[in-house]
């Protein structure tokens, strides 16, 4: 017969430990719940500010279909976000293209090949790279990449998709590297041992065993990098040229959703149509980054299940 489990409240003596336990339990519960409260609160706030516009001035056809973002044009302001969406998408796309090979390479090197000190130093350096403020990246884009792009490609302006994409790629790379490395580390060592015992080289083991086993985690790493790119504001504002454009080449200047909000919000009257339209952009951003993060999370869960 199974013994009855002791009731852990009744048998407890109310000494100091008991109170500390209760108190700490309460504090961490508040901490955990507050995350939910904040995320719902932010979503509610953004929605509330943008909501009137959704019912009044908003036309989905214009918002998603027209590149004309002319909120200050009198008497007929237009709110076409297509160019802004295209700007964000093109910059983020290029960022991912440039960051993925480097990040995967770095993660594979750190997780599978580097040993001892090299590995530790590299990990710290990659994390340091993630700590560089975005305005510094924007500064690099503005003052170093800009003249470089003008000189190399012989184009009139160096603040464009290429510049912002590369800067954003550099910013996303450390996050992708760190998460991808975690994904590779999570692959049980028994698999590597099995592969090597059969005569596979380290590289063969990496390609044929470790990467397939870690593919969900690697996918999550890429998605979180994309999420980082979507939400980044300052560096993109500084490096992209900030002009409304449907880009046809990497040398076109563009304007990103985030940069638009940052640049215009301070100059609008609270509650005006323009103000509300900016919050609608915010809702769009929120929805996209939320979906990306959710997708990444589902991929990681896939790893645990499989």
């Amino acid at each position: 017969m199974a013994p009855t489990p002791p009731d852990d409240h009744a048998s407890d003596r109310r000494n100091l430990d008991w109170y500390v336990d209760r108190g700490m339990r309460w504090i961490v519960t508040v901490g955990g719940v507050s995350a939910i409260v904040f995320i719902i609160g932010i979503f509610a706030f953004v929605t509330r500010e943008g909501f009137p516009f959704l019912f009044d001035g908003f036309e989905a056809g214009e918002f998603f279909g027209s590149p004309a973002w002319r909120p200050t044009s009198e008497p007929n302001p237009t709110y076409g976000a297509l160019a802004l969406i295209a700007g964000t998408a093109s910059v983020t796309g290029l960022a991912v293209l440039s960051a993925v090979p480097f990040s995967l390479g770095a993660a594979i090197y750190i997780a599978e090949f580097a040993t001892g000190r090299t590995r530790e130093v590299l990990k710290v350096l990659v994390e340091l790279l993630a700590a560089i403020p975005s305005v510094v990246w924007g500064f690099i884009g503005l003052s170093m990449m800009n003249p470089l792009i003008i000189a190399i490609f012989d184009v009139p302006v160096g603040l464009n998709v290429l510049n912002a994409g590369l800067i954003l790629g550099l910013m996303a790379a450390p996050i992708m590297t760190t998460i991808a490395e975690d994904a590779l580390k999570a692959v049980p060592d028994a698999y590597r041992e099995a592969g090597e015992a059969m005569g596979a080289t380290r590289w063969q083991v990496t390609m044929r065993v470790v990467l397939p086993a870690a593919k969900n985690g690697l996918m999550a790493a890429v998605l979180l990098g994309v999420g980082r790119g979507f939400g980044e504001t300052m560096a993109v504002l500084m490096a992209s040229g900030h002009s409304i454009n449907l880009p046809t080449s990497p040398f076109d200047s563009v304007r990103a959703l985030t940069a638009t909000i940052a640049a215009e919000l301070g100059e609008t009257a609270v509650g005006s149509e323009h103000y509300q339209a900016l919050f609608t952009l915010g809702m769009l951003l929120f929805a996209v980054t939320f979906s990306i993060n959710l997708a990444a999370d589902l991929f990681v869960r896939g790893v645990r299940r499989g």
Partner: protein, 256 residues
């Protein structure tokens, strides 16, 4: 010249960092037979086994002196191809470790690594898979789900699969490191039977913690203690009339 021994070590010493795990091991393992390595935990039996396909080197801080020859060829030295060594010497681990691939791809994994000829057709691959799985008595259970992932099999089936995947590259020596210790009694019996059917076609070196298993399932038996080889004779003799008093004490269960 007589048939060379399957494994012959001479004055083999091994250190993990500064800890010496093997002392002057001289052992000659006869070809085509099953030899079990027994001894208490930490006696070096697994270390010796793992030295024979040099998987010990993964740790990075292992040093050795002395020599190991497998079928007359040295396996340690600058001229030796580690890939070739590991191709000819299959290894089965304590916990079944099928790769997170399909059953079919597990069987073909080693073969694809070492196949230097033209790429095999699907039919040839099917043939290889069927033959390997038939040899390990796993074909009937798995033939309808070769595309399923191998990690979904029972532990017994996984361990059989881990043996099956070694066979397509035609190794001559199989090293087994307590291959049944993660299995239930029924699985143990099935895998032991399988090991017995492989006898003759392969030389098998089997580390076991289980003296009854050594007695049932091996032709020869070697007893190790504190990193040294104490006694190595036919299993019957060793269990019935051990020469060394330490062997006698161990098989009677006085320690270990």
């Amino acid at each position: 010249m007589a048939d060379p021994a399957a494994v012959q070590t001479q004055a083999f010493n091994l250190w993990y960092g500064t800890f010496q795990a093997l002392y002057d091991v001289d052992i000659t393992v006869a070809a085509g037979r099953i030899t079990s390595l027994i001894g208490p935990s930490g006696c070096g039996k697994s270390t010796l086994l793992r030295s024979i396909n040099r998987i010990t080197e993964r740790l990075g801080y292992v040093r050795t002196t002395g020599s190991i020859e497998v079928y007359g060829h040295p396996i340690i030295g600058p001229a030796v191809s580690l890939v070739q060594v590991r191709k000819q010497i299959g290894m089965v681990f304590q916990r079944p470790n099928p790769l997170p691939l399909s059953i079919r791809e597990n069987v073909l994994f080693g073969w694809k690594l070492h196949n230097e000829g033209p790429k095999a057709t699907r039919a040839q691959e099917d043939e290889i898979v069927e033959q390997a799985l038939r040899t390990v008595l796993l074909w009937d259970e798995t033939k309808d789900r070769l595309a399923h992932t191998a990690t979904g099999l029972s532990l017994e089936q996984q361990q059989k699969l881990c043996i099956a995947r070694l066979l397509p590259v035609k190794p001559r020596l199989l090293l087994m490191d307590e291959p049944c210790s993660a299995l239930d009694p029924k699985g143990t019996e099935a895998v032991e039977e399988l090991i017995w059917t492989l006898r003759g076609a392969y030389t098998i070196l089997l580390v076991t913690h289980n003296m009854a298993q050594a007695r049932r399932a091996s032709d020869d038996c070697a007893f190790m203690l504190m990193g040294r080889l104490v006694e190595h004779r036919s299993t019957n003799e060793l269990f019935v009339a051990p020469e060394d008093p330490r062997t006698g004490d161990y098989i009677e269960g006085r320690y270990g």
